[in-house]
Symmetry: C2
Subunit: 148 residues, 2 copies
DNA sequence: ACTAAATACATTGATATCAATAGAAATAGG
DNA sequence: CCTATTTCTATTGATATCAATGTATTTAGT
């Protein structure tokens, strides 16, 4: 009578070494820490930087397209906006053309923070790409795009 | 008098299209949803699956090496273990050889859950790799490894 | 052996993430 | 025009993530 369901250790090693989801989550955590550390002096996390940068448009976008761009749940976006609104960096206003919707825009203070963050992003990203084998940055981007 | 600090829209597009951190976060969210959906019938998230799989070893590992393997903060691991302990799937015991440390192990129930999850992972992962252009899975893994 | 430094975890507080659900407004079908 | 459906967003609850900090234990230096 086989009384316990054992997965062989070799299977564990196989999953650990091949799981794309795990590999991506690991890289996501590592890169988040890298950019969070770099952006800390201006008070932004990597996610807040990406979100605010995506709001720097000629016309204030509604929430749906922004959530899609960032590949995040709409409820996550609602939550992510809260601290940025509280600090006065982002405005959330009702869309006059569709009263269900909101329009997202940067305040002047938000634009200033983003402008301060931009050179940090540039330095950090350049350094990061230099650590990658030649040309693999572009390939990596296209493969990641295919996953999202 | 230039009274507002404006980042050109073209810069926004550049950052959006080139930022490796953003690309990885997007892919991480998308893959997390994919595996979370697939694993939901057995009550695991992608992160819980990876964590429990990493505990399926001949000898119960301490927390530090597991956190490193998953490239996560040690405090994150502490928190992630909580729901798994509560469900009786993981045991956290004191390391008799170093009383500061803990040893992590799967319970028989935990092993059973993991065994039920394994075929789901296999199906999901196979399908995922099939959507990628030939051979790019392996290259992607090695590039992600370089990032983490 | 004693003390200082380093190591291994836990706790707290803030933000991030998503599922489930609910509300309000717009749209479609009649 | 009226109703059913769809769309857009907010709220709640659970887990995930990390910085800052604290505690206990071990190790290193003397």
């Amino acid at each position: 009578m086989s009384n316990s369901i054992e997965i062989p250790f070799s299977t564990t090693l196989l999953v650990r070494d091949t799981c794309l989801c795990l590999h991506v989550q690991r890289a996501a955590r590592a890169l988040a820490r890298l950019f969070d550390d770099a952006l800390r002096p201006v008070g932004l996390t990597n996610g807040q930087f990406s979100l605010m940068m995506s709001l720097n448009r000629p016309e204030p976008p509604p929430m749906g397209p922004v959530a899609n761009l960032l590949a995040m749940d709409q409820t996550t976006l609602t939550a992510a906006l809260k601290p940025l609104q509280r600090r006065g960096w982002v405005n959330v206003t009702q869309n006059p053309k569709d009263k269900r919707g909101r329009l997202l825009s940067l305040t002047p203070e938000g634009k200033a923070v983003l402008a301060a963050a931009l050179p940090i992003w540039e330095r950090t990203h350049t350094t990061l790409e230099e650590t990658l084998p030649g040309g693999s940055g572009e390939r990596l981007r296209s493969e990641l795009q295919a996953l999202a």
